[in-house]
């Protein structure tokens, strides 16, 4: 029973971290139809931004939102200079090559400027683990899960209730329709890209104390985020959340009770099963638009 509860806790906390990375990925795909292979690089940028800010004496908790802003600014610069010119309306194939190139460029820049070695990122939670009724919860993980929850719920409410948020959803549902509704589509796309990469940067800044900052730190997390996003339905935000929890919990249970070696395959097996049953993913909507 103890092991079961501990596994549920592990899975939920794991899933909340995946959700942050996956939401950024799914928003960018939804509105821009870009498969953002540079997502992991923005994740790393978030971690390095925290690191740099800490070197200037900014405390960790303040450095997190600032890091997300720094990543947003870098993302906006890349969006204006490369993504917007090269990618809009060019389909998903071109986007893979170009975002992959951006990813390589960012990783190389980090290596050149800061170096390849992993650097520890300090957090006020340190290594402390809380022992609640004999269950271990790392304070940093709890903080990550809490922040992810607050950010995701806030973001979801903003998307549903603000006009700009609704316009992001509108562009992802029907970009052509948005053009006929007075919506500034390029502006909404920039905004989505910035929000998407800022979410990746935020995730990087939150997870950095657990995994240290190193140039390719985003790769593994983004691979999982891809399974999460495909499972939940590309472009669906609710789907990304559900997918993250499903993958987080199933990974935790599988690793604890079945086999450690097979866990990475599990995500993709789930993806294949779900896609066989629901080709749009768990919450991806089939187009209902009747003509």
């Amino acid at each position: 029973m103890d092991l079961f509860v501990q596994t549920v806790i592990n899975g939920l906390i794991l899933g909340s971290g995946y959700a942050l990375v996956a939401v950024g990925l799914t928003i960018i795909f939804g509105t821009l139809h870009i498969v953002n292979f540079a997502h992991g690089a923005f994740f790393a940028l978030g971690a390095y931004a925290v690191l740099t800010l800490q070197n200037f004496g900014v405390p960790y908790l303040l450095a997190i939102p600032l890091a997300a802003i720094v990543v947003a600014v870098i993302g906006y610069a890349l969006e204006l200079s490369i993504v917007r010119r090269a990618l809009y309306d060019r389909g998903e194939h071109g986007s893979i090559i170009i975002t992959f190139a951006i990813s390589q460029a960012i990783v190389s820049a980090i290596i050149l400027v800061i170096g390849p070695d992993p650097i520890p990122v300090k957090s006020p939670f340190g290594q402390t683990a809380m022992s609640v009724f004999s269950y271990f919860i790392s304070a940093q993980r709890l903080f990550i899960a809490g922040t992810a929850l607050v950010v995701l719920v806030g973001f979801g409410l903003w998307l549903r209730n603000s006009t700009k948020g609704q316009q992001i959803l509108a562009v992802s549902q029907n970009a052509k329709g948005a053009l006929y509704s007075g919506i500034n589509v390029p502006l909404i796309r920039s905004l989505s890209f910035i929000l998407g990469v800022a979410a990746a940067g935020l995730a990087g800044s939150l997870l950095a104390p657990l995994i240290s900052a190193f140039p390719t730190m985003g790769d593994a997390n983004v691979t999982i985020a891809f399974t999460v996003v495909i499972l939940g339905g590309l472009g669906s935000i609710g789907g990304a959340l559900l997918g993250a929890l499903v993958i987080g919990l199933s990974n935790a249970f599988f690793e604890t009770y079945v086999s450690v070696s097979w866990t990475p395959a599990l995500g993709w097996i789930l993806v294949i099963l779900v896609l066989l049953l629901w080709p749009q993913g768990l919450l991806g909507k089939a187009q209902l638009n009747r003509h």
């Binding site: 592990n10 650097i119 290594q127 683990a129 140039p215 935790a252």
Partner: protein, 379 residues
Amino acid sequence: MRFWTKTTATILASALTMSASAFAADPVRIGMVLPLTGPTAGYGKDGKMGAELAVEEINKAGGILGGRQIELVFDDEKGTPQEGVAAVQKLMTQGKVKAIVAGMNSSITLAQAAITKNKILHIVPGAQADAITEQGSQWLFQINNNSTTNSTIFHNYLVNSIKPKTIAYMGENTEFNKAVLQNLQKILEGSGTKLVEIANYDGTTTDFTSIITRLKAANPEMIYVVDAYPARTAQIWKQIRQQGGFPKEAHATGTVQTSAIIPAEGAMEGVITGDIFIAEGATGAMANFIKAFEAKHKVEPNKVSLVSYEAIKVVAAAMDKAKTDNNYDLLAKTIRGNAWPSPRGNLTFSEIGRSKSPYFYIHVVKGNNVALRETFEVK
């Protein structure tokens, strides 16, 4: 007739000597492939510094083969077998190198060895897998101890000196780590120690909480982690610490460097490991090497710097002694037939190209580095 023959021979000989002396000024190019980027880029940095020190010393002392300088040509294996093979091929075809020094990661080295086999002299500085020297490559030599040698000493030490009743094993799912696991299982046979849990995780794993939960559920007295990636090593030990740790803790030999210990932020304190090198308490040639290294690079050398340094030194000394930079049969024979002075003492190579370190050290992580716990002579 005889006169003409003699004259021709003389002219030919003098022409050859002339061209030989014309070449004497040309440097000997040695290609070195390292992970300069990617997850093990720290090894690349350390290895490059070691090799550069060796070249500086050799060239300052007048070079080799009658005054020829050594020139290092670096290429990046980026931590993947594909890039590792491509880098070796590039150096062999376009780099005009006379020898290849390559191999930190065992799977990458195995791929590279297939390319260099019967083509060029290949010195492997860091990689430890037994298979590297078991492929019948006559011109390949391994500077580091092979995995079985190190593991056998270390596992025996764990069983006989630390004496845990139960061990839980976790390691990345690679051929190299499986060999370490098999060695452990063999040594545990008939001992009082039982292996109660085995977790082979994939290289893409970022979160070890569930694995550690699983291992803790088996309630072992000792955890034994086998992982060669510094960032991941730090991460695993942090997560172990967050879940309360284990009574006894050990990490695979030859893989614990400051590049893992520092990012672990104290989480590796007290972890037992081992290696062929330790800076602490060094004397003689080793102390001189450490001093020279620190003077040039302003940091303390580690095992990776040492084996890279030695690899270059062995290539250079062998070329000088055999008086050739491209007769690889002769070079290989020379390397096998002689003892090569190194900071660790004299290095000798077996028929299949394996070297054996004179000493093996048991370490324990202390602060930002490892401290010496015990020294073993390698038999």
